[in-house]
Amino acid sequence: MHPPVRLGVRIAVLLALAVLPALTGALDQPFLLDLALRIMILATAAVSLNLILGYGGMISFGHAAYIGIGAYAVGIPAYYGEYSGYVQLPLAIGAGALFALVTGYICLRTKGVYFIMITLAFAQMAYFAFVSIEEYGGDDGLVIEQRSEFTGIIDMESTHQFYYVVLVFLVGALYLVSRIVNARFGMAVQGAKDNDQRMQSLGFDTFRYRLACYVIAGAMAAAAGWLMGNYNYFFSPEMMGWTHSGELIFMVVLGGAGSLFGPLYGAIVLIILEEQLSSATVYWPLILGAILIAVVLFARGGLEGMLAKLERRK
C-alpha cells in the first residue's frame, strides 16, 4: 500500500487555509490573510478553468473575462445603490453563464488552435466593450463603496467573515468539480476530450455536453469574479485582460491539468512567486517569464503529477 501523499497534502493545505485567520491574528501578519484571499479567489477561478481545460480539453484563453463579468455584477448594481448580495451574486452567475452560452456556442464549433484564439478574442471583445462604457468608468473602472450585503447572515465587511466566505466558495468549487467529473456528465465530457469521433459514434452529442460544461465553468468563474470585486472594492476592464487569462492557464498547468487540486497548488505557487519576485525587483516579469518557459519545457504533469510520482516511489 502506497502512502497517500496526495490525500495528505490536500488535507494539510485545506487545514492550513482554514486556520490561517487565527494564525495571522496571533502573528500579527494581516498581510498574509490578504495574500491567502487573493490566492483562494484566483484558485476558485482556476478550478473552474480546470473543469473545461483539464477535464474537457477546451483550452480557453479568455477565462479572465468571467472574473471581470463577476466583478461588474457587483459594481454596476452598487453604482445604482443596489448592494444586496442576493441580487449581485445571482447576477454574476447568470451573466457569466449567459456570456459562456453565447460565446461558447460559436467557439465550440471550432477546434484546436482556433478555439484558443477565439476564446481569447471574445474575452478581448468584452474588455473593449467595457472600456468604451464611460458610464462605468471606462478604462479606469470604478470603486465599489461597500461589499455585497447579506444582512443578518454574513457581514462581508468583516475580514474574517469574508475570508470564510471565500474559503467556502473554494471548497465548494473543488467539491462541485469532483462530483461533476465523476458523474455521467463528466464521463461524457472526458470521453469527448479523449476521442470525440468515438463519442459521437457511441451516440453522444458531444457539442452540447461541451457547451454545458463551458457554461458551468463560466458561471463558476463569474462567481469567483464576484468575490474578486468584493475583495478589491473595485472593478475595471483590466481584470479581463488576456494576461490574466494566461495566468489562470499557468496556474492550472503548473498544478497539473485534469487533477482536482492542481489549480489550487498552481495558484498558491504562482501568486507567492509573483509576490516575492515583484517585491525583489521591478524586472520580475523577466524572471517569471523565464521560469514559465522552463516549467513548460522541463516539468510535465504539474505539481499533482509530482506528488503522484512521489506516492508511487515510496
Binding site: 481545460l53 483550452i59 484563453f61 460565446t103 460559436i106 464549433r109 471550432t110 477546434k111 484546436g112 488552435v113 482556433y114 484558443i116 484564439m117 477565439i118 481569447l120 478574442a121 471574445f122 478581448q124 471583445m125 473593449f128 466593450a129 472600456v131 468604451s132 462604457i133 464611460e134 458610464e135 488576456w242 494576461t243 494566461g246 492557464i249 499557468f250 498547468v253 491539468a257 521591478v282 524586472y283 520580475w284 516579469p285 523577466l286 524572471i287 517569471l288 517569464g289 523565464a290 521560469i291 514559465l292 518557459i293 516549467v295 513548460v296 519545457l297
Partner: protein, 307 residues
C-alpha cells in the same frame, strides 16, 4: 468636406490593414507550417520598434535604422526559434501557448530593463513629417502613405515569394502537408527557422512603422496581437491570401466603425442612445465580424486544404 474626411479615414483603415497584415503574415505562416501558436509574435513587433528607437538616435537616419532593425529582428527571430520555439513544435498547443506567454513576460521585462519604463519616441526626418496634398483638397501625412506603400510592397513581395519561388513552394507544401515537404528532401529544420525569422522581421517592421506615430511602449504588441489573431482566424490559418484580405477587412471595419457607426446608429435610434451604444459596438465590431464568419465557416474564409 464630408468626403475628404471619408477618404482620409479610408487611408487610415488601409494603413491599419497593412500593418495588421505584416503581423498576421508571420503568425499565419508559422502556424500553418509548424503548427505552432506563437503568442510572443507581438513581442517581436515590440522589439523591432525598440531596435529602431536606438538605431535611429545612434545613426540619425530613420530609413537606415529601419533597414538594420529589420535585420536585427530577423536575427532575434532565429535566436528565439533555436532556443525556445524549436523545442515546442512537437508539444501540444497548450504548452506552446504557455511557453510563448512566458516569452512575452520575458521580453516585456527585458525592455523595461534595457530601455526603461517610459515610452520611447522616434523622430522622423522632415521629409517624412510633412503632408502631401492630393487633388480635391485632400491632405495626407506623408508618413501614412509611406506605411501603406511599404506594407503593400511587402505584401506583394511575400505573395510573390510564396507563389512563385522554390522556397515558396516548399512553404506551401509545408503548410498543407508537413510530411510531404519532408519527403521532398527539404531540410525542414532550416526551413522552419527561416520562416520563423521571416515572420519576426515582418512583425518587427510593423512595429517600426507604428512607433513614430505612437512611440515604442512596453506591451505595445500585446493588444494588437489579438487583432492579428482575429485576422488569421478570419482569413483561415495558414493562408497568406486570407491574411491579406482579412487584414484589410478588419482594418477598414475597425476604423470606419469608430468614425461612422454613431452616425449610422442615429438613423435607427435616438441620438442619446446612439452615442452611448456606438462606442461599445464599434469596439466589438471586428469580433462580431469574426464570430459571424466563424459561425458559417468554422475554419475561416480560406482554410488550408489539407489538415
Amino acid at each position: 468636406m464630408e468626403w475628404v474626411l471619408f477618404v482620409s479615414q479610408l487611408l487610415n483603415g488601409l494603413q491599419l490593414g497593412v500593418l495588421l497584415f505584416l503581423l498576421a503574415a508571420g503568425l499565419t505562416l508559422v502556424f500553418g507550417i509548424m503548427d505552432f501558436v506563437n503568442l510572443a509574435h507581438g513581442s517581436l513587433y515590440m522589439m523591432g520598434a525598440y531596435f529602431c528607437v536606438t538605431l535611429t538616435s545612434a545613426l540619425g537616419s530613420f530609413p537606415l535604422a529601419v533597414l538594420l532593425a529589420v535585420i536585427l529582428t530577423f536575427i532575434l527571430g532565429i535566436a528565439v526559434e533555436l532556443i525556445v520555439s524549436r523545442h515546442l513544435y512537437q508539444r501540444d498547443h497548450l504548452d506552446q501557448v504557455l511557453a510563448t506567454f512566458g516569452l512575452i513576460l520575458f521580453f516585456n521585462g527585458a525592455v523595461h530593463l534595457i530601455w526603461g519604463p517610459e515610452g520611447n519616441p522616434i523622430a522622423l526626418p522632415d521629409y517624412l513629417n510633412g503632408r502631401i496634398s492630393l487633388p480635391a483638397g485632400i491632405e495626407i501625412p506623408t508618413f501614412r502613405l509611406v506605411i501603406i506603400a511599404i506594407g503593400l510592397a511587402v505584401a506583394v513581395g511575400l505573395i510573390w515569394l510564396v507563389t512563385k519561388t522554390r522556397m515558396g513552394m516548399l512553404i506551401r507544401a509545408g503548410a498543407s502537408n508537413r510530411r510531404m515537404a519532408g519527403a521532398l528532401g527539404v531540410d525542414i529544420r532550416k526551413l522552419f527557422t527561416l520562416v520563423f525569422a521571416l515572420g519576426a522581421a515582418m512583425a518587427g517592421l510593423a512595429g517600426m512603422m507604428i512607433a513614430p506615430i505612437t512611440e515604442a511602449n512596453i506591451g505595445m504588441g500585446d493588444d494588437i496581437l489579438i487583432v492579428a489573431f482575429v485576422v488569421i482566424i478570419i482569413g483561415g490559418i495558414g493562408s497568406i491570401r486570407g491574411a491579406f484580405i482579412a487584414a484589410l477587412l478588419v482594418g477598414m471595419i475597425d476604423v470606419m466603425g469608430r468614425s461612422y457607426l454613431d452616425d449610422f446608429m442615429k438613423l435607427i435610434m435616438d441620438n442619446q442612445s446612439a452615442e452611448t451604444a456606438s462606442p461599445a459596438l464599434s469596439a466589438m465590431a471586428i469580433y462580431i465580424l469574426m464570430a459571424g464568419i466563424l459561425y458559417f465557416r468554422p475554419r475561416g474564409l480560406f482554410p488550408p486544404r489539407h489538415r
